[in-house]
């Protein structure tokens, strides 16, 4: 039995190495080829350099993601837990993305819906990893949404099983949506069909959210168009908030 499991793990690892090698070769081919073309096409220098740097960035993301996957699979994903306001964090990330959208000059609006700004939502989590998840969801939306809007909704809910308060973050967009073929394996490794994606982002995001005791899933927008991904995280109720809840002011 143990032997079978080892064989299966070994097969999966080999498959992962093969697919990873394949994915690494595509940007490598572009960098290698276009560098060689620079001397032949001086009039298209800027265009060629842009392709080279885009592929170098893709290679860098891919390598970082592959290392993350290795940590996840080896159960070595270490979380640096701290208490912070996730509502403030999302607000800061949204501002950063608004700047990026502005520089791209696309007809795109980024909307952040969290009504109660006076009450920050605290979580105990690895801040950098949560930034990674939110950035991944926003980058995906940005990549597939040429016009319309990307919306981040933040709200509080109760986890049915544990009766604990949770934050629900939903990123939705009016973009081209997800390929139905991809949907069943959306959160698995190398699910992407996009030439820009690494196909590892949502797998890593799922692992990060689950390591924090949360959930992540994809849903449908009301009009059936675009993409929609939600995740939850347990909320840390600070002493002041707890006191207010237990002893409501008269």
């Amino acid at each position: 039995m143990l032997n079978e499991e080892l064989k299966r793990a070994d097969k999966m690892q080999k498959e992962f190495i093969n697919i990873a090698a394949h994915e690494l070769k595509t940007p490598t081919q572009a960098i290698l080829g276009f560098s060689g073309l620079l001397k032949h096409y001086p009039e298209r220098r800027d265009e060629v350099i842009e392709v080279i740097s885009r592929n170098a960035a893709r290679l860098q993301t891919l390598i970082t993601n592959i290392l993350d996957v290795t940590k996840i699979e080896g159960q070595n994903l270490k979380l640096n837990i701290e208490t912070f306001s996730i509502s403030d964090l999302i607000s800061a990330i949204v501002e950063d993305y608004k700047e990026r959208i502005k520089s791209k000059k696309t007809i795109l609006e980024l909307v952040y819906n969290y009504k109660d700004n006076n009450h920050p939502i605290l979580v105990e989590a690895d801040k950098e990893r949560i930034i990674q998840v939110i950035s991944n969801l926003l980058s995906n939306s940005l990549q597939f949404t040429k016009e319309g809007h990307i919306t981040i909704d933040v709200g509080l809910a109760i986890d049915d099983k544990k009766s604990k308060e949770i934050i629900v973050v939903t990123v939705s967009d009016t973009g081209s949506g997800m390929d139905p073929e991809i949907m069943p394996r959306l959160f698995t490794r190398f699910a992407s069909k996009s030439f820009q994606g690494t196909g590892l982002g949502l797998y890593i995001s799922k692992s990060i959210i689950e390591a924090h005791g949360g959930k992540i899933w994809s849903g449908k927008n009301q009009d059936g168009k675009g993409a929609r991904i939600s995740f939850t995280l347990p909320v840390k109720i600070n002493d002041q908030v707890r006191k207010e809840k237990e002893e409501p002011r008269s």
Binding site: A21, H22, A30, G33, L37, F195
Partner: protein, 129 residues
């Protein structure tokens, strides 16, 4: 140099950067190159007898390179088709199965530098003509 002199190439790959690379690299050396990123679109626009060599990526959405190979052959039995592939897995797997009749020389491994690509393409046009 007249582009037809060295040959007409059709390159199909779902990665736009790679078709652009193929086009620029081969055109610099005098080939005429048409490209497609969508295999189905490539098939519906295929002109039998026009190309000296068709270069196919293997891992593509909608239709993989081997399926496209058969479809092209149905339209143009004399078409010369080769595969540009990054995946060792696909190369070995497909060759083991029904495609073992394909000459190993028809597989070009990525990554490849431009001079080598040009020289392989030239050799293929000469060898398989």
């Amino acid at each position: 140099m007249d582009k037809k002199e060295r040959g007409r190439i059709l390159a199909i790959d779902d990665e736009p950067d790679l078709t652009m690379l193929c086009k620029m690299a081969l055109e610099h050396y005098g080939f005429e190159v048409n490209t497609f990123n969508d295999p189905k679109e490539a098939l519906s626009n295929y002109k039998p007898g026009y190309y000296d060599l068709v270069i196919l990526d293997i891992k593509m959405p909608k239709m993989d390179g081997f399926e496209l190979y058969h479809e092209i052959k149905k339209k143009d039995a004399n078409a010369k088709v080769c595969f540009l592939t990054a995946s060792e897995l696909y190369y070995e797997e497909f060759r083991k199965k029904e495609y073992c009749a394909l000459d190993k020389g028809l597989f070009i491994r990525k990554p490849i530098d431009n001079d080598e690509l040009v020289s392989k393409v030239q050799k293929m046009i000469e060898k398989y003509s």
